[in-house]
């Protein structure tokens, strides 16, 4: 094996009383794809921030090409050749692709040479083997395209170690393929890639070595060939777990609680029809951009449908606002916890009581704080939300626990119909299993559940039935017994049409 380009030796970092990292040692060699895995809170983010100069370690040393270095700020990391891209790409929405790529350059003269700028940008994009117009403003790019811009930016700065932090969490299957191929291209050009992801299947496909972190400690670094899926998960969580909840199959399906006929939102989706029964989990499957979420938002009245019929418990209803949806007993647990779901600066109990505040009122409209806390506490136990108490601000919780607070908040509205949008996006394996168990348990209690997910294994593990969508159209509804990963994928990608085109 060649000499390492980057070595971390006995790195420690604490915040207040908590140790985020203790005694972490591993190395990166040139031209390898090195995966780092671990549950949320294992210390991956802290590690990245130390390597990029955002944080300074409390102890240990960093070696760059064999020489001890200290990375005092992001500029220093950049100067060495370390760059990072994140799940939420760091681009400038108002600048175009080319400017975004070269914004950090100090060596391109005092004056802008726009012609050269676009030519150089095109060359870099080509080097990554993708197609992207360098003139487009970044505000119109998809997440995947924004990532490409960031990778091109890193490449333009002669990056030697590129850190990718959960790069595929929000990508469609097709985009994931493209990203993995970019990672391989970089590797072929001698760039080392530190690949951080929850998606173990991706890691097994691209990584050369894998390092596991748990509770801020280094657990193992092994060649990928030397580990199995199960062994990796065991290292991550510290115990053997079933990747997915054991399905308590065949819930006796109850009455039809929701019936949708020919639902349309002009220009977004059309002709969506299905029945949903009490105690059933119906999964919406499809690629990112297949408009599954839009159907969910229409049912919840956020972006109301422009045509079609919705009936709840046999009665035709009109839902053009979330208010009306909630009156019908519909709740919506959203994908974007920060934007749509939670008030990050408020404590857990306030978040939970928010949509059902009317039930926590005393005389004169005063809020019954005691009742609020009591209810919140019961959810904290039931959903095992990990926090000292319900006073903790939601912004301080990990992604999985935020997801649980969000769920608690909607459960408190006592919904008959629960819509989950990407219930486990960006949360780790352990938490994922917990959320799945909770969903199954709810279904057993007779709640009708719609789960929107782009994670196919999750769909197959969770669903009683699967509704596949593609580009705003309903491709079909299938009983889980008739579904395989391949059959769903074929419908979701429109393989027949692809075959025709090629």
């Amino acid at each position: 094996m060649p000499a390492p380009i980057l070595e971390l030796r006995n790195i420690s970092k604490s915040f207040a009383m908590t140790a985020a990292l203790s005694d972490v040692t591993f190395d990166v060699v040139p031209g390898e794809i090195h995966a780092i895995v671990g549950e949320n809170g294992a210390g991956k983010s802290t590690l990245i921030k130390i390597m990029t100069g955002v944080y300074q370690p409390d102890g240990g040393e960093i070696l760059w090409e064999g020489m001890p270095v200290s990375i005092r700020h992001t500029q220093a990391a950049q100067a060495l050749g370390i760059a990072a891209i994140f799940q939420e790409p760091m681009v400038f929405p108002d600048l175009d692709v080319a400017e975004n790529i070269f914004i950090s350059h100090r060596d391109r003269g005092t004056f802008m040479d726009w012609g050269k700028l676009y030519a150089d940008a095109d060359a870099l994009i080509k080097q990554l083997g993708v197609a992207l117009d360098a003139h487009r403003p970044a505000s119109g790019l998809t997440l995947a395209e924004q990532q490409t811009v960031e990778i091109a930016r890193a490449l333009s700065l002669k990056v030697k170690v590129l850190i990718m932090d959960e790069p595929t969490a929000s990508l469609s299957a097709h985009e994931v393929e493209r990203l993995l191929s970019i990672a391989r291209t970089l590797k072929a050009q001698g760039v080392s890639v530190l690949y951080i992801s929850h998606r173990l299947d991706e890691i097994f496909r691209v990584a050369d070595r894998v390092t596991v972190l748990r509770d801020g400690k280094h657990i193992s670094t092994k060649p990928i060939a030397a580990v199995t899926h199960e062994a990796l998960v065991k290292d991550m969580v510290g115990r053997a777990i079933d990747t997915f909840a054991v399905k308590t199959k065949a819930n006796p399906h109850g009455d039809t609680v929701l019936s949708v006929k020919g639902l349309v939102r002009q220009g977004v989706f059309s002709d969506v029809s299905f029945d949903l029964h009490a105690g059933e989990v119906l999964c919406f499957a499809g690629l990112v951009g297949s408009r599954r979420t839009d159907v969910g938002l229409a049912l919840f009245g956020v972006e109301p449908a422009t045509g079609g019929e919705i009936s709840v418990a046999g009665k035709a209803v009109r839902i053009i606002s979330p208010q009306q949806a909630m009156e019908q007993g519909i709740a919506y647990v959203s994908e974007d916890r920060r934007k749509l779901g939670l008030a990050m600066t408020l404590p857990i109990f306030s978040n939970i009581s928010l949509p059902s505040l009317a039930r926590f009122l005393k005389a004169f409209g005063w809020i019954d704080r005691t009742a609020e806390r009591k209810v919140a506490e019961s959810y904290r136990e039931r959903l095992s939300i990990r926090s000292p108490n319900t006073e903790t601000h939601v912004g301080k919780l990990s992604g999985g626990n935020q997801q649980k607070v969000m769920l608690a908040k909607w459960l408190e509205t006592k919904p008959r119909i629960l819509i989950f949008d990407e219930p486990t996006r960006g949360i780790d394996v352990g938490a994922k299993a917990e959320v799945h168990n909770i969903m199954r348990a709810l279904a057993k209690e007779g709640v009708a559940i719609i789960a929107i997910s782009s994670d196919l294994p999750e769909v197959l593990a969770l669903a009683d039935r699967v509704l596949v969508m593609r580009e705003g159209r309903q491709m079909g509804i299938f009983d889980i017994a008739d579904c395989t990963q391949e059959s769903v994928m074929a419908l979701a990608t429109g393989q027949q049409e692809l075959a025709k085109a090629s």
């Binding site: 400038f92 108002d94 914004i103 004056f111 802008m112 119109g140 395209e145 951009g289």
Partner: protein
């Protein structure tokens, strides 16, 4: 809509703005006698000359996701202090004097900038504070004296009537030339100067700016200093144009400049905007203002309200357009 996609949204905004300007002029031409004339052009340009530099400085500050509410008080300070100064130093070279005015402005702007970028206080709080602070300082400093026209050197008093070019009734004044020069320099810098692109970057996504190793604090400080220097230039023009300077000089210019910038399509949330837009916005606001006082139909009380309405329309249009373009582009992918 298909053909519209070819344009950058910003370009579209400029075209729309220019169209509104033309329509406004056409409308008032039909309403007011002798409206469309070289004389009116001269009136508008001379009037724009005072506010345009401030609007340019304001635009750069707004691009970085900040706002400078102290510009009006700054104009007052520069006009008053430098007016007093030139009364004592009659022989000073005019070019040196202009530079001194801008330096004084830049110094005051640096106070704002340091508090915002290194003190981490929101700019609206800082500049609301300095708006009052600079004005109070001026009240204290002036001891109720007026800078009077007869204390100023003749070249300064006569400057507003001096022309750069004059032909066939057209008459472009020196003070207009100064303001246009400032706009030209700002335009060239923002489009051609690599370092100036950082104003956009910082406003567009401050978090990303950190990762792109842009020194956000320094960029914001410089933006406020430019705003100050531009207010200084406006202070000079103000001094030349009005001669008598009291502590009320420049009162309310902060709102006028924000109006011009917003109407000119600079995103109030930072990151985008162009000097061409700012010039168009400033001219449009001024044309409406100067036309309404010549238009008998609208009463005094409605003029302010109309201007306010215009600003709200501009911001609403901006938000709606940004949103619909986001959709358009979203559906493209």
């Amino acid at each position: 809509m298909e053909s519209l996609r070819k344009f950058h949204p910003q370009t579209l905004r400029l075209i729309a703005l220019a169209l509104v300007l033309v329509l406004t002029v056409v409308f008032f031409t039909s309403q007011i006698d002798n409206y469309f004339s070289p004389r009116m052009l001269n009136r508008i340009t001379s009037s724009v000359a005072v506010i345009l530099p401030i609007a340019i400085g304001q635009a750069i500050v707004v691009m970085t996701r900040n706002i400078d509410l102290s510009v009006g008080s700054l104009v007052g300070i520069v006009a008053y202090v430098m007016g007093g100064f030139i009364g004592q130093h009659q022989g000073i070279n005019p070019a040196v004097f202009v530079v001194l005015c801008m330096l004084l402005g830049a110094f005051c702007g640096a106070i704002n900038g340091v508090l915002v970028s290194y003190g981490r206080v929101p700019s609206i709080i800082v500049t609301l504070g300095t708006l009052a602070l600079f004005r109070t300082y001026l009240v204290e400093y002036s001891e109720a004296r007026t800078i009077t026209t007869d204390s100023l050197p003749k070249w300064l008093v006569d400057l507003p009537s001096a022309s750069v070019v004059e032909f066939g009734g057209f008459d472009i004044r020196v003070i207009v030339g100064l303001a246009v020069l400032a706009a030209l320099v700002a335009w060239l810098a923002l489009t051609r100067l690599r370092a100036a692109r950082q104003f956009y970057a910082v406003g567009s996504n401050p978090d990303a700016a950190v990762f792109a190793s842009i020194n956000e604090a320094r960029v914001v400080l410089i933006a406020f200093m430019i705003s100050g220097a531009m207010a200084g230039l406006a202070g000079f023009i103000f001094l030349a144009k009005f001669g008598n300077i009291t502590v009320v000089a420049g009162l309310g210019f902060e709102l006028k400049s924000v109006a011009a910038v917003v109407v000119g399509g600079v995103n109030i949330f930072g990151g985008s905007g162009s000097i061409v837009g700012v010039v168009l916005g400033t001219v449009l606001v001024d044309v409406i203002d100067n036309s309404l006082i010549r238009w008998a139909v609208v009463s005094e009380f409605w003029r302010e309200a109309l201007l306010g309405l215009l600003i709200m329309l501009a911001v609403t249009a901006d938000t709606l357009m940004t949103r619909s373009f986001g959709r358009l582009r979203g559906s493209q992918n």
